[in-house]
Symmetry: C2
Subunit: 282 residues, 2 copies
């Protein structure tokens, strides 16, 4: 008998995070549902789960900076990534009809990605909740056909809601990138589960010294070694006004010699740098 992998997600069953977890780990998992990302990272520290699946970036909403902050403070490392196409549905109770709906609950980011829907349905009021799938659970439990939720089709299926309208998102180019995290140095679960396919990618964070041209010099350590970047994002540092951390993804593995050389060079010219993980691209 295969042992189920304890997998922490933020939100409920039927959420996009569960879909990402299944995509990365298969069906043989036991979900540990957390109401916030703080709770999720706290649970990983206590060992409540072996793997955490967290959204880190969305093509429309941008990086989820809070999760980068929590990742940086945690003792976790990135062991895999995956992308999910986000398709939002209007979901109601089994007897609901679109024209009856007066209130729609969902996560603020999901509501924000369906602005056009609310412009076309002026009688419908948007209301914020902590999770898309949780909103479906709530409206089905309350049973009011005038109240709907916005979430993925999987949430409707899981909580027995009715899909009233599909693809109500403004922009079809809506993808979310998820990281799989494990305790640093462990890598037990993902390494055993699936072959490392795709070219390697390495995520790291660094803080530039506060001198002119500092970022230019930091990027030169990669450019001079023909290491390509697939992402760079700056993040103001907590408690240090107008100082920035830079999050960078390299299209090389952390164990390659040129990466090792670049990282050593980077340490010479920065105050702080840390590798967050090295994993196969998807």
């Amino acid at each position: 008998v295969e042992v189920k992998i304890k997998t922490a997600i933020q939100g409920e069953r039927g959420s996009f995070s569960e879909q990402a977890a299944t995509k990365l780990l298969g069906k043989n998992l036991e979900l540990v549902c957390c109401s916030s990302f703080e709770e999720l990272f706290g649970g990983m520290k206590r060992g409540d789960a072996e793997v955490a699946i967290v959204p880190i970036e969305n093509t429309l909403a941008g990086s989820i900076h809070r999760n980068y902050d929590l990742l940086l403070e945690s003792g976790l490392e990135i062991v895999a990534e995956t992308h999910l196409r986000i398709e939002h549905c209007l979901i109601g109770t089994q007897d609901a009809q679109v024209r009856q709906i007066r209130r729609v609950l969902s996560h603020p980011v999901a509501l924000d990605q369906c602005r056009e829907f609310f412009r076309r349905h002026r009688a419908i009021q948007a209301e914020e909740t902590y999770d898309t799938a949780g909103a479906v659970q709530q409206i089905v439990r309350d049973g009011d056909p005038k109240v709907g939720a916005i979430a993925g089709a999987a949430a409707a299926k899981h909580f027995r809601g009715k899909v009233l309208s599909r693809n109500i998102e403004d922009n079809s180019q809506n993808f979310t990138r998820f990281f799989a995290l494990e305790k640093a140095g462990h890598r037990r679960v993902l390494a055993g589960k699936r072959p490392a396919r795709g070219k390697p990618k390495t995520s790291l964070v660094f803080r530039t010294k506060n001198v002119p041209g500092a970022l230019f010099r930091c990027l030169s350590v990669f450019a001079l070694r023909d290491i390509n970047l697939s992402k760079i994002e700056s993040r103001p540092q907590h408690g240090k006004p107008w100082q920035y951390l830079f999050y960078v993804d390299l299209l090389t593995g952390a164990d390659e010699e040129r990466t090792q050389n670049a990282l050593r060079h980077l340490r010479e010219i920065t105050d702080f740098s840390k590798v967050l993980g090295s994993y196969p691209t998807l």
Copy 2:
């Protein structure tokens, strides 16, 4: 008689945006209060106000990407900047006391910046509203001493609420940067109001071509001309998955020769670039 300057802000009177407006324009202004940033930018297009004051970046929460997106689509330019220290207060009705409070309303960002307060007061439930000052207006109007709001002291004064606790923010290094915006090419209001003090700063946005080392080359156009950057931030571009826009602040004026040369060089190696404004640093 001096004519009052019509000034658009998001939120209510007594908000941090009103404080920023007063700091930049003095007391002689007529506020145009908007319930969302979309409404604010729409109103500026119609000519409902001459100047808009919008928050663009916070030292803890990061850039307000939505406002960068709206600025890019608008025909507005940045004509000034200012910084405001954000001090959050717990505010109640006149007869309220801290230990009676059970619910606290505020903007999600403000609630997020007072996590420690909620950890210390487990009996208090946080509830999201669209504006800090609007939350104070609501709780004073409703008159329930068990319901409080988190906002600046100015909001308590304006709506006659009672400050129950000061500086409840987790981190004292909490500053918000605001832009003053006017119709591009006009610059009537701010230019007439106050002398351009401080060294010049120029804000611009560009999109790199999707080739290796593209960002490194873009930064070289500034580094090679000794132009210092005070900010760089990447932003995923709507509808173009995993492509990024870069928002950069240069510590030079747009009319300086080396800036002109750098911008011409930048246009050679980018798909798209645009100057968002050139204005004195504060």
